[in-house]
């Protein structure tokens, strides 16, 4: 049970359309910092959706953190995601009507398990700590609409990390940042993942960052649906 991700004969398509994912096998050790690479349209985001339990595979086996997602109901998958997965989007990660602090605290407030894992520290304190680690501690009271893109992504990272989920999924979180900022952002993200012992799946179409990761997965190579 040391696998964070274990996919077997996974096939997925939207509605009755063509197959988007056809992955015979894909596994990922826990604690890995994986770089999932693929050009646009190679099914990166779709794969993340399947891993997060938002999209349901039509065929095959999807085990995430040892849990067979196919055996879970929709509500159970939602609860599973809330408890075990932190998700960072490419951009526009934040809920506009919540403050920075509230955005970070959202998963902990949404899920009791995440809250329980705060080890007695309050949601606010934990959020503040995380924000300090990611060097946005001075922005907590600001409305999110006043943040720069880089700041927004850090807030999103804090939100993904709060309550120590085992799996962090990041969908091109650095694509809107310039190179220097990308590296700085990644350094911080790695640091926090290590601190929490989380597995990181980082998706990008930009191979320049590849060297910073412990493992690289080329999606076109594993996904047979892409011709």
């Amino acid at each position: 049970m040391s696998l964070a991700i274990d996919l077997r004969r996974l096939r997925f398509r939207y509605g009755g359309g063509p197959w988007v994912l056809d992955i015979p096998e894909l596994t990922l050790e826990r604690g890995t910092r994986a770089f999932l690479f693929g050009p646009s349209g190679s099914g990166k985001t779709t794969l993340l959706g399947v891993l997060a339990g938002v999209l349901e595979a039509e065929e095959g086996e999807v085990r995430v953190l040892g849990e067979d997602l196919a055996s879970l109901s929709g509500a159970q998958r939602d609860a599973f995601r809330a408890e075990h997965i932190g998700y960072v989007f490419q951009m526009f990660n934040l809920i506009p009507y919540l403050s920075v602090l509230d955005n970070i605290a959202l998963p902990a407030r949404m899920n009791a398990e995440r809250r329980a894992r705060l080890d007695g520290t309050g949601v606010r304190e934990t959020a503040t700590q995380l924000a300090d680690h990611l060097q946005i501690g001075d922005l907590l009271k600001k409305p999110v609409t006043e943040l720069s893109v880089g700041q927004q992504q850090r807030v999103a990272a804090c939100r993904a990390l709060i309550g120590s989920p085992e799996l962090i999924v990041a969908d091109e979180p650095t694509s809107s940042l310039d190179f220097d900022r990308r590296e700085a952002f990644l350094e911080l993200l790695f640091q926090e993942c290590e601190r929490a012992g989380a597995t990181l799946v980082f998706v990008s179409h930009d191979r320049t960052l590849e060297g910073m990761f412990s493992r690289t997965i080329s999606l076109p190579d594993v996904n047979k649906a892409v011709l």
Binding site: G74, F89, L98, M110, N111
Partner: protein
């Protein structure tokens, strides 16, 4: 709780569209509540036109007709009730008090009502308020009049003014008898009931007005004669010019009268009247009189000469009839029994109605107007709620990303639906509350104005069951309507997954 918090913050974030939506719902709810309040106010002021009167008694006829002419000053009575019959019922052991009403005359479009001090003593309106005098004193003398508040205001009369009473109920009566002017001795305080639009004289004074048709009754014969003349107050028979002329030549047929009379003197003649046979007979007695003034031509046959106000006093007049009378019983349990007895009265055709019942019956007849008004208000509320639906629905597209984020942090479709339904519920509830507040604020401001301008007293009272029902319906409708954008958001969120497509 989190979702509720999110819903509130989301709404606050869209403050402008939220306040517009709440505002439009509030306005429509205020309209609905306003209509309801005005309706209740109208109904209350309608049924409070008269209170504490157990029975209204008049000659047999339509229930509503009796109510109309006795209480609302509308329509004309057909017959009167004799004084003897009135006294018989007034002295009935079950009867505590009565107010006699003599109707049939007017002054410049306002009804003249003959009554007595019982009116001031026993008449009650709007939950037991008594008739009060704004100035002067109640009419006591034969030619005293007390004016309703509106009459005094509209005709600009003051105490001491002399007014002439017109026979008949039209704006322009058939005769003005300036020889019997009444003097204004008092003005009543405003009641916002038809009392304000009436002029009060004594029953004796009322009787005196009718001497045009006969004479101060000296014997029983003349009693009957006068009763007859009065029984048909709106009859055409009061074209007195013709009567005067006809009096000179009682053998003439109607068509010839005018001509015949014309030959005799130089008066101007109209052909539209019938000479009363009685008058034609009676008139020769005072031949030679009454040529100087048309109105005086009917001067009393028994009396030599005209009747002038200063010549007679109230003791000289014997009241012979009343049009209707109000009854208060000693014990309310006797009302139905008394009503039955009066309805079965054999000496004269009489009828007693219970004002509450008759008012209710009348109001039922007006119910369609109420329903229409209410229907319009309900549609306005629906339009307000549809506005909310449109606003929520159109905001969904720009909120797709927000939904995807919520999904990503673990919010299931149920929570998405809950969020949107809660938002719509909040909007509807806030609108309903704001509307309620608005309506009470408006009522507080407008109540005195409406009372002064329209004579409609709208009571400020806590929302009644109908209002609460409406408010509940608005909130429920908001709740149900919330499912439309919610289900749309749910489908979009399912389709979008975590892919944020903008």
């Amino acid at each position: 709780m989190l979702i509720f918090d999110l819903a509130l913050k989301s709404l606050r974030n869209r403050a402008f569209s939220t306040s517009l939506t709440v505002g439009s719902i509030a306005l429509s709810v205020a309209l609905l509540m306003g209509v309801e309040n005005v309706r209740v106010g109208m109904r209350e002021s309608f049924s409070n036109t008269i209170s504490q009167t157990d029975l209204i008694v008049g000659t047999k006829g339509g229930t509503i007709q009796l109510l109309l002419y006795s209480v609302f000053g509308m329509g004309a009575p057909t017959e009167n009730v004799s004084w003897e019959a009135y006294r018989e019922w007034a002295d009935h052991p079950a009867v505590e008090w009565t107010i006699p009403y003599g109707l049939g005359d007017s002054h410049r479009g306002f009804r003249v009502i003959g009554t007595n001090e019982d009116f001031y003593r026993h008449y009650r309106y709007r939950g037991g308020q008594q008739i009060a005098l704004a100035e002067g004193r109640a009419n006591e003398g034969l030619f005293d009049v007390t004016l309703g508040a509106d009459v005094a205001a509209e005709l600009n009369y003051a105490l001491g003014d002399e007014i002439a009473v017109t026979h008949g109920l039209g704006e322009v009566g058939f005769i003005n008898h300036d020889h019997m002017p009444f003097t204004v001795t008092g003005v009543l305080a405003k009641t916002f009931t038809p009392v304000d639009r009436a002029i009060y004289v004594t029953l004796e004074g009322m009787e005196a007005i009718h001497w045009e048709d006969g004479a101060p009754p000296a014997s029983d014969d003349e009693h009957d004669h006068e009763a007859e003349a009065q029984a048909a107050p709106s009859d055409d028979g009061h074209a007195h010019e013709d009567e005067a002329e006809a009096a000179h030549d009682d053998d003439h047929a109607h068509d010839d009268e005018a001509e015949a009379a014309h030959d005799e003197d130089g008066h101007d003649h109209d052909d539209d009247g019938d000479a009363h046979a009685d008058e034609a007979e009676a008139a020769p007695a005072d031949d030679g009189h009454a040529h100087d003034d048309e109105a005086e031509a009917q001067a009393a046959p028994a009396d030599d000469g005209h009747v002038h106000a200063e010549d007679i006093s109230i003791e000289d007049v014997e009241v012979t009839q009343v049009t209707s009378f109000f009854v208060g019983t000693t014990n309310r349990r006797d009302v139905l029994q008394l009503q039955r007895e009066i309805n079965d009265f054999e000496d004269e055709p009489m009828m007693a109605v219970i004002p509450g019942v008759a008012l209710n019956e009348m109001w039922q007849g007006l119910a369609y107007a109420e329903t229409g008004l209410r229907l319009v208000a309900i549609f306005v509320v629906l339009v307000g709620l549809l506005g909310m639906l449109v606003s929520l629905y159109t905001s969904l597209n720009e909120r797709r990303r927000e939904m995807a984020i919520l999904r990503a942090v673990g919010a299931g479709p149920n929570r998405i639906i809950t969020l949107l339904v809660l938002e719509s519920l909040c909007l509807a509830s806030a609108g309903a509350l704001a509307g309620l507040t608005l309506v009470y604020a408006l009522l507080a401001v407008a109540q005195p104005l409406v009372e002064a301008q329209a004579g409609l007293f709208i009571p400020i009272r806590p929302p009644g069951s109908v209002e609460l029902l409406f408010l509940g319906a608005v909130v429920l409708a908001g709740f149900l309507m919330g499912f439309v954008p919610a289900l749309k958001a749910y489908r979009t969120a399912l389709h979008d997954g975590l892919a944020v497509r903008v």
